[in-house]
Amino acid sequence: MTQFVLAGVLGLLFTVGTFLVLRRDIVRVVWGVTIIAQSANVYLVTMGGLSGTVPIVGHGPPANPGSVTDPLVQALVLTAIVIGFGTTAFALVLTYRVYEEHGTIDLDELGETGGEV
């Protein structure tokens, strides 16, 4: 059941992300990229299979040692999230710089005023 719910949520997240990336407003584009990156992270978690118990060996023998959810993907997602923080911060600062330089965050206007180097 969890798999179906997650699949639906992932599809929705990717839709929202794609929709936002296609907007004219740069802040929305950055949000869209962030959402797409986060949905990729969620997707990565699902790749470990969600049928088992938590991947922590507590005190005493685990109830069913054979079926533990793969912890590796969760470690991978942690790495990806940290990288995502850095890139999101940079993208937001860059948005601010674009606003300072061009006086607009509308991508269409940016296209008109940008010009060649």
Partner: protein
């Protein structure tokens, strides 16, 4: 013991990056450390090259965690070939940066970012783990985002925005593909993945989804390499970045995408085959490479045409170089496409691609540095403000001319052998009955003619003709001209002393297709 030398280039570049960040208050010391670091990097790469020549493949398991559980760094002939190119270009660009970038810019963070870019590139060439490859890509990209926006003017922020958003989406897609690969093959280690894909039944792998995921991953590498239809960020980003950074982007980071394609598709995914064969129109055979071959061929053809035609119509030197970069990457991918489709010429095709990549790396970085020298002296690289550079500064012009000739492919420069090998690959493929060899030959010829066209135009408008006022009064920095001439000399040396380079490229090509040695070296305990 010898395996430790694998991490030497990574450590040197990382320590340099940290030191230059700490020394930002002392600009002279910072510059000295940066240059010493670039030299040390070249020295450590030379050590690694010597070690690989001795033992053919070196494997370093980080923290002693054995593959496939830990992170593995692998240095073989293919990795050190790319590292050698990186060492030469990054040293030249570092020396150039010290004389070119403004005092304030250097103090700010330039050197630290520059060396972090080198760290990311080095890691990508050395890693033997797909998720780790993603991490090194991010290290490389994060520093390149900041370096593209370094001047921070209107057009730079615009180019950086486009570059950043595209690469962030690329990273998300890469993560999706890596997750899919882990889920379908059950491993992230490249050697382990190759071993499992060779016996899909034993490990319960369905090759069909793996092919689809490999195709998604291919799009990401094509985006990094700037192959059509993923080329649209290239011109703006290359023109916006400072000249030494453009040199690094065109000369080295573009080649990371090419390296990833060779390593993953020719070493790892080539192990797999589809049980029922490819039943798509236009695709033959049952191997994964037979699927990617025609795709690469179309992309290479489009790159050559679009890059060449785009470069002919540019109004500034940097624009010509950026579009030319798209066209030239097509020449690198073309022999790879032939190598993928026709197994008989596989090693020759990879060697041709590597030689061409080396030639393009050296020549294009030199041309970007030459363009930077002109920009610093004259104040612009738009053709309307240029003219008569050849009479004003003959030495720099000779450098530019040599670089242009190398890309056109005039003997005895390195570019001649690159083009020759591309033609030879196409001809050999035609001789063994490969389809499309005639089209490949025609494309290579047409691309070569376009190269002649846009470089003669750049030469006529920028270097010949009447001197403009800006050119007449400009003064050229001797250090910058010296770097350009040194790289031009490197092009001539590679061309004249071509034998060792060809041997290195052949060794790299056989390392790329020699899956058995790769798997056995990384996973010694599973081999019989």
């Amino acid at each position: 013991m010898a395996a430790q030398v694998v991490i030497a280039p990574l450590l040197v570049a990382l320590v340099t990056a940290v030191l230059t960040l700490l020394l930002r208050r002392f600009s002279r010391a910072q510059r000295a450390v940066s240059l010493a670091g670039a030299l040390g990097y070249a020295a450590s790469v030379a050590l690694l090259v010597a070690a690989v020549a001795d033992q053919s493949i070196l494997v370093y398991q980080l923290s002693g965690w054995r593959a496939p559980f830990g992170i593995t760094l692998v240095a073989d002939a293919l990795s050190v070939f790319m590292l050698g190119l990186t060492a030469v270009v990054s040293l030249a660009a570092a020396v150039f940066s010290a004389g070119y970038m403004s005092e304030y810019g250097q103090q700010l963070s330039y050197h630290a970012l520059y060396h972090l870019l080198v760290v990311g590139v080095t890691g990508s060439f050395l890693t033997g783990d797909i998720f780790n490859l993603f991490v090194w890509f991010e290290v490389m990209l994060l520093s390149s985002y900041v370096l593209v926006v370094f001047y921070s003017g209107p057009e730079h922020t615009r180019a950086a925005l486009q570059y950043t958003v595209l690469n962030l989406i690329g990273s998300a897609v890469m993560l999706l593909a890596i997750g899919g690969l882990y889920s379908t093959t059950g491993t992230l280690n490249m050697a382990d993945m190759a071993r499992r894909l060779a016996n899909p039944a034993e490990f319960g792998i369905d090759p069909v989804p793996v092919l689809g995921i490999a195709a998604i991953l291919f799009a990401v590498f094509a985006l990094k390499a700037g192959i059509v239809p993923f080329q649209f960020w290239v011109p703006a980003a290359y023109r916006a970045a400072p000249a030494p950074v453009s040199a690094m982007l065109a000369g080295v980071t573009k080649k990371v995408g090419i390296y990833a394609i060779i390593r993953l598709y020719f070493t790892v995914f080539a192990a797999a085959s589809l049980p029922a064969g490819l039943s798509l129109p236009g695709f033959g055979g049952d191997s994964f490479l037979a699927f990617f071959g025609p795709i690469m061929f179309v992309m290479a053809a489009a790159s050559i045409v679009l890059g060449g035609v785009g470069a002919v119509s540019r109004v500034d030197l940097d624009g010509v170089l950026a579009y030319s970069s798209i066209g030239q990457i097509g020449f690198v991918v073309l022999p790879l496409a032939i190598a993928a489709t026709v197994p008989e010429v596989r090693e020759l095709g990879i060697a041709a691609a590597l030689i061409y990549a080396l030639n393009h790396g050296l020549a294009k970085s030199m041309l970007f540095l030459a363009s930077g020298t002109v920009r610093e002296a004259v104040g612009s690289v738009r053709f309307e403000y240029l003219g008569g550079l050849a009479r004003r500064t003959p030495i720099l012009s000779i450098g530019f001319f040599v670089g242009a000739l190398a890309l056109v492919g005039i003997p005895p420069l390195s570019g001649f052998f690159g083009k020759l090998l591309v033609f030879q690959t196409a001809a050999d493929a035609g001789a063994v009955g490969g389809q499309g060899a005639t089209i490949a030959l025609a494309l290579a010829l047409g691309g070569a003619i376009l190269t002649v066209a846009y470089f003669s135009r750049a030469w006529n408008e920028g270097f010949w003709g009447t001197q403009s006022e800006a050119v007449r009064t400009a003064t050229y920095s001797p250090t910058l001209v010296a770097v350009v001439i040194a790289l031009a000399a490197a092009l001539v040396i590679v061309g004249i002393g071509f034998d060792p380079v060809l041997r290195a490229a052949n060794a790299a090509a056989s390392a790329a297709v020699d899956r058995g040695t790769y798997v056995d070296s990384v996973l010694p305990e599973v081999s019989p």
